[in-house]
Amino acid sequence: MASKTAPIGRAGPNSRFAIFRCVAGYLLAAALPAALTGLFVSLVPEVAGGGVLRWSVDWVPSLGVRLSFLVDGLGLVFALLISGIGVVVFVYARAYLDGHPQLVRFFVVLTLFMLAMLGTVLADNLIALFVFWELTTLTSYLLIGFTHERADARAAALQALLVTGIGGLAMLAGFILLGAAAGTFELSQLRAGTVDVRADPRYLPLLGLILVGCFTKSAQFPFHFWLPNAMAAPTPVSAYLHSATMVKAGIYLMARLLPTLGGTEAWTVTLTAAGAVTAVLGSVWALGQSDLKQLLAYTTVMGLGTLTLLLGLGGTAGVVAAMVFLLVHCFYKAALFLVVGAIDHATHTRERDALSGLAAAMPVTFVTAALAALSMAGLPPLVGFIAKELIYVGAVEAPVVPAVVVGAALAANALTVTAAGLVALGPFLGVRRAWSQPPHDPPWTMWSGPLLLAALGVGAGLYPALIDQTLVAPAASAVLNTPVEVHLALWHGLGLPLALSGATLALGLAAWSARRPLDRALAAAAAGLPRSAEGVYDAALAGMKGLAAWQTAVLQHGRLRGYLATVFATMIALIGLAFLWGGLSPAVPLPLDVPLYAWGAAALILAGTAVTLKTTSRLTAICALGAVGIGVAILFVSHGAVDVALTQLLCDILFVILLAVALLKLPRFRELPHRGRAAMVATAGLAVAFGTLVSLILLEILATPLDLRLTEFFQSHSQPTAHGRNIVNVILVDFRAFDTLGEIAVVMLAGLAAVALIRVRASARRHQENNR
C-alpha cells in the first residue's frame, strides 16, 4: 500500500491495558477463522475416507431452492484454504493496519467475505452458491475500495464489481438453464448423473453462460484486467481475496461442474485455449511490471490460467495436477503477497527499481520470500517442483494439440521462474541503499504467517504424504466423481516431464540473466499489444454514461409541451403501426339513426370547440367550453343517460363559475408570446393525427362485438338483489360502493389540497409581513 496509514489512536506503552487490548485484538481477529480451520481439519479424516457430509434446510421451496451444504473432498480443500489462510491474513492485517481508524469496518467486511467464500465452496444448491458468490463480489468491492478516499481505488472497486457482477448474472442464467436441463439445482444430484446435461440442446448456451461467470471471477483472458487493478486494495486483501481464495471461485466451480459439463469438445477446447492464453500472457505481462504487487497480480493471472488449462484437459493427470497446483499456488502466492506488504511497510515503496540489498536488514522476510519463490519457480525439494512435474504430465497427455499445450505451459512456467527471481531476489540482493528510516523485519505477527505458508511448501515437498492422501486424493476424487489414488513424490523418474522441468529452469534462468534487456523489450511489446478487454470495459462504461446524459438531455429537457408532444408522437407511431399491421375494418355505418336534436348537440360541441381554439378572450373561451359541456349533456340524454346528463350540467355550471372567478385574475392571452407558424402547423398536424387515430380506434372497437355479461348481471340483479329500480344508481351505491367511496375520497383530497395551497400563500404572506 503506497499510502501508509499513520498509527492513530494507538495505545501508548505506558497504558496499563495496552498489552491486553493488543492481545485481545489479535485473538478476536483470528478467533473465527482459527475455529473454522479447527473444524475443517477435524473433518479431514472422515472426508479422506470417502465420506460426504450434507446439511440443508428449505429456503424457497416453491422454486426448489434449498440452503444446503455439502462437504466433500473438493469443498474441504477450499474450505481449509479459506479458513487457514484466513488465520494468517487476519493476524497479519491486524498488525498491518494497526491504528487505522477504520480497522473494525475492515475486519467486519473481511469476516463477511470469508463466510461468503466458505458458503460458495460448500453450497450444494446452485442458487445458494450464486448468492454466496455474489456476496464475495460485494465484499470484494468494499475491500478493494477500502481506502475509498482514493479515486483509483474506487474506480478499481467498481470495475471489479461490474466485471465479476455481470459475469455472475450470466452464470445465474446458466444455472437456471442447467437446473431446467437437469431437473435439479442440487450439485450432489447433478453429480449423480441421472440426466446427461451434455446431450441436452441447452448444453452449449448454459456452458457458455456459466463459463463467463467463471472466467470473469477467475480473471481469465480477456476478462483478467480487473485483477491487477484490484491491487488498489490493502495488501492483506490482495493476498487473501485476489490470489488465494476469491479468484479461485471460478476454478472451484469449473472443477465442481467437470463431471456434469466436462469432457466435451466445447469444454476442452474453451478451457484449454483460455487457460493457455491467460497463462502465457499473464506471465509475459508480469515481467513488464515495475510494481512488485502488480507483478504478483499478473503471476496470479498466470496461475489461474494454468488451473483452467488443467481443468480443461479433464483427465486424471490434469485434475490431480490442478489440485496440487491449487494448494501450492495458495501457499507461495499468499506468502509472497504478504512479503511484499512487509517490504512496503518497511520501505514505503514497492517499485522494483527502488529496492535492493534488503537481505541483511530483513532476514526473516528474505528467508520467507526465498522459500516461497523456490516453490514458485518449481525447484526441488519444494512442493512447487511436484506441481510443475504434474502439470507437464497433464500437458503431455492433453487431448487436443498436446504440443501447443506443452509449449504454453513451458513458456508460462519459465517466465514464472524469472518472475519468482524478480520478487524474491531483486529486493533483497544487490547493493544496499541508504534509507531515511532503516528498514527492519516486521513484528512477529506479520512474519510468522507468511513464513508458515512458505514452510508448508518445503514440508509438503519433503513429505508429500502431508497432502496427497489427506487433501489431493479426496479433492481429485470429488472432481472426477470416481475414487483416485494419489501418491506424490519428488522423484518421478527420468522422462519427458523431468526434461521439461530442466528446460523450464534453463529458460527461466536465461530470462533472469537477460532481465534488463528483456524488460525493455517487453515494455516495448506491451505498448503495441492490445492490452485486454479493459478498453472495451472503459468504452462501454463511458458509452453508457454518455448515452444516459444524451437521452436525459433529449428527453428530460424540462419543457412540458415537449414531453406531451413526445407522448403523443409515440402513441401515434405505435398505434398507427398496429393499424398498419392489422389493417382497418372498412365498414363505417352511416349515422342514419341520429335524432335531429343530437345533430344539434354535435354541432354545438363542434362550434364550442372551434371557438375555444380560435378565441384570445378568456371569457369567450370559458363560455364556449360551457357550451361544449351542454352539448355533451344533450348527447348523454340521447343515450338514455339522464343522471349522467344532470351531473354533467351541474359540474359544467360549477366549472364555468370557478374558471371565471379564478382565471380572470390571470394575464390576458394576448400578452403571451405566440408560437411561430411552423410550430403551429406541426402542433396542429400532431393533434389532427392523434384525433384521427382516436376516431379510427373507436370505429374499430364498434366493429367488434361487445361483451354484455356485466350489463346483463346488473340489469337482472338490480331489483331482486339490491332493491333498486335505477340500475345506474344501484351500481354506484351498491355493487360498486367502494369505487364510489374512493371517488368521494379523491374529490375530498383535491379540495383539501386546493385549500392547503391557498393557506400556504396566506401563511407565507404573514411570514413576510412579520419579517418586515
Partner: protein, 123 residues
C-alpha cells in the same frame, strides 16, 4: 349514432391535443376539460347506442321490460365526471398559485425545480 360520435370525439381529441400542447397553462387546462368530455363521450359510445330509454326497472317488474340503455358505461362516466371536476378544481387553484409565485402562466418559464443549465435540467 356511433359513427357520428366517433368522428365528433376525434375532432374533440384533436382540438384538446392542440390546446394541451400550448405553452399557456390556461389553454392547457381548456384542453384538459375538452379531453375529459371527449373521453366521457367515448365511454358512452363504446357502450353502444340503444335508443333514449334510461336503464330503469319498471314498477312491479324484476328486470327491465323493454330494451334500455347500457347502465355500466353510465356508472363509469358518472364517476369520471366527478373525479374530473375534482382534478379540475385543484388544477385551477394550482395554476392560480403558480402565477402568484412565479408571475407567469407560460409553462416554458416555470423552471424552478429544474433550472436551465443544471445537469438534469434543460440545456
Amino acid at each position: 349514432m356511433a359513427s357520428l360520435l366517433a368522428v365528433l370525439i376525434g375532432a374533440m381529441v384533436a382540438a384538446a391535443s392542440y390546446l394541451l400542447l400550448s405553452r399557456n397553462v390556461v389553454r392547457f387546462l381548456f384542453g384538459f376539460v375538452l379531453l375529459g368530455n371527449a373521453i366521457n363521450l367515448a365511454i358512452l359510445t363504446v357502450g353502444r347506442y340503444r335508443g333514449p330509454q334510461p336503464p330503469l326497472v319498471p314498477d312491479g317488474a324484476a328486470v327491465p321490460t323493454a330494451a334500455v340503455a347500457n347502465a355500466l358505461p353510465q356508472a363509469l362516466i358518472l364517476t369520471a365526471i366527478v373525479i374530473g371536476f375534482g382534478i379540475l378544481a385543484f388544477s385551477v387553484v394550482l395554476i392560480y398559485r403558480a402565477y402568484e409565485e412565479l408571475g407567469t402562466i407560460n409553462s416554458d418559464e416555470m423552471q424552478v425545480a429544474e433550472p436551465a443549465g443544471v445537469p438534469g435540467g434543460p440545456r
